[in-house]
Symmetry: C2
Subunit: 393 residues, 2 copies
């Protein structure tokens, strides 16, 4: 039998669409001794996570927990528990993750109407309204707050109004927004919100925060057939997270430790301060890109500060540039998904990775590589524009 | 906003049904810098995990990976991908986890026949044969190799023969056996095997090894409808784990690091040596219990060395004893599930927790507590019997 090769993962500057860099305190928390999933001390840690999650999600919802999987497990838990066979579901799709919600809703047996928008634009609430009216009785309207594939932020409140006027529940994907841009589950009137840990919360991927409003919870509890999934059945999960403590799965102990420490770090920084930090660094990067001569892909006014899509200039080789960033500077960024493949780069500034140093390092690094590729990037102007924005609040 | 309380989980001696204690090397591996889920260095680590998993599972199956969730996610992946609506499924149920498989198969739309055995006995292959013949065309026969709720090991080969004679696929739950007692996926003719990491592999819970034979894979690939689950769709997972590297989810990076280190530790120790260690320590505990005057619950000849069920003597209070173990000795053991609640204790000796020191510490600790409870445990005889067995190979 052979054993393992040397285990020494390199240090990267994580500026892709996630994972972001983790705070050393978060990594250290994972080395705490393992506890049993029903140990009183572990249950106390779960309770603290629940309380902190409510603060970070801005909700009073009782049903607030972390599903035992990555961000997509939060999506699956929300969709598979809320959608029953035959339910009408309207999904706003302006990128890859909206489409993923639609596919999951179809697997749950839902009759799905997609409200499409261009990949780079937000979902249009008027189009959602038209679709909801055409569909008749709608059980669920679903949308992505921060579309990781395009860098677009779709405002939640207009779509929330449409959904609730039609008596539908509202599901909001906040995988890339939570902890980086304002998420207001209760003020929005969102009935189901989920996220991941490896974006703006800056913990390793592995658990997914989720919350459900009393209305959503009533819908889950009165299902006629059990949800498609046993592993992510919200009623079984909640019966473990609440005072019943019914055994369902062996909680991913070390990941819950990581979540606990990451949430504590968010609250120590302060949500508003954290949002402001992401805003400042993200806008600095975007202004730097434009000053350098690059074109931002997402519609102005809807650009996420935490994830920027920038168009790859003509004649520039996507893979060569990303390869050079990784090899020379140990910087990871993301490529385009779907129709945007080889057309955009996705540059994340999330959580610990959202820092002035990363903004300047990245602009300087990619500027030089672009020039080698024959694109006359004005690196000096880019850095100056970014630095000017970084000096503002 | 409030911040977190002090985060200092206590050190436990983990002798419950899992999680077991983790090797410090495994905990340390999780603090390695995060990599992106498509980083070449991370893909190399995934490939090494795949190769090591094949060695530990004793299989040549190409489709061998780790699902992004705890052991139950492995069960859900196996069941939900293999069972299509209307498929006939025969499940051997001799405890809680066999029943869980049956429930999942029902959620997948399967027509399920349960072959029940007493909680403490193995599943009878003759009864499985009768059920398979009565059911007509059977798609899948499912069984639990090591039933965590009862401490019983059901031999796989007799049931494998029955399944294959009927042209059915064989699913085997090895959550509690892998790395502790012999698991021979290929030699058994098992078509789907899954496990967890927090038992005899001694990593934190959070990923689940799974392997599928070419026959099982053909069944998955020729499904008429997609599996119920998108998150645990094996075709999507395999397309990420194999050379296609198609994005599906953001891998739980740190948990994959932990798995990598845990598998390396298993192979460094040697599978046969590891099985022998678990056998020696488990039998020592069991002989110690009997010499002390306690009664083992599982049928002789079918007792798992890695998880022992022992009957709670009459007049002894379950919760008081477990509470005293935890408070005075920081030892965790498990209570009974379902019908065995308050009737048995479940004492695990898995992975790092399977040590001579833990055997002797536990017998000494519980012996004293039992005497306080009015049960005349012969602690001296128990320790002597255990020590004698520990001295043998």
């Amino acid at each position: 039998m052979t054993s393992t090769a040397a285990f020494n993962p390199p240090t990267r500057v994580l500026m892709g669409p996630g994972p972001s860099g983790a705070n050393p305190r978060v990594l250290r928390a994972m080395t705490a001794p393992l506890l049993g999933h029903l140990d009183p001390e572990f249950l106390r840690i779960m309770d603290e996570c629940r309380a902190m999650l409510r603060q970070v999600l801005r909700t009073q919802n009782g049903v607030t927990l972390a599903t035992p999987g990555t961000g997509t497990s939060g999506m699956e838990a929300a969709v598979m528990n809320l959608v029953e066979p035959g339910d009408r579901v309207v999904v706003g799709v302006c990128g890859y993750f909206g489409e993923r919600i639609a596919q999951m809703a179809e697997r749950a047996g839902g009759a799905v109407t997609r409200v499409n928008a261009a990949w780079g634009s937000p979902v249009d609430p008027a189009a959602v309204e038209t679709a909801v009216k055409a569909a008749g009785s709608v059980k669920l309207v679903a949308m992505v707050h921060a579309e990781t594939s395009t860098g677009v932020q779709t405002p939640v409140e207009p779509i929330s109004k449409v959904a609730h006027a039609a008596g539908a529940l509202l599901l909001v994907d906040c995988v890339t927004s939570l902890g980086g841009v304002p998420v207001e589950a209760d003020a929005w009137g969102a009935d189901a919100v989920y996220s991941g840990t490896q974006k703006c919360l800056s913990a390793p991927p592995g658990v997914a925060p989720i919350t459900m409003s009393p209305a959503a919870w009533a819908a889950v509890k009165t299902r006629e057939v059990p949800s498609n999934t046993w592993y992510l059945d919200m009623q079984l999960l909640e019966a473990y997270w609440d005072d019943r403590r019914n055994y369902h799965h062996t909680a991913p102990i070390s990941m819950v430790y990581a979540l606990h420490e990451a949430l504590a770090l968010v609250l120590e920084e302060g949500l508003e301060q954290r949002w402001a930090r992401h805003e400042r660094n993200g806008r600095a990067l975007q202004q730097g890109f434009e000053a350098m001569g690059l074109v931002l892909h997402a519609d102005a006014g809807y650009r996420l500060p935490v994830l920027t899509t920038v168009r790859i200039p003509e004649g520039v080789n996507d893979m060569e540039v990303r390869g050079a960033l990784l090899k020379r500077h140990s910087i990871e960024i993301g490529g385009g998904l779907g129709d945007l493949k080889a057309k955009v780069w996705r540059v994340g500034l999330m959580g610990e990775s959202s820092s002035p140093g990363n903004v300047l390092l990245f602009l300087s690094s990619i500027g030089k590589i672009l020039r080698e590729q024959g694109f006359a990037a004005d690196v000096r102007a880019g850095l100056a524009a970014a630095a000017a924005r970084l000096d503002q609040p």
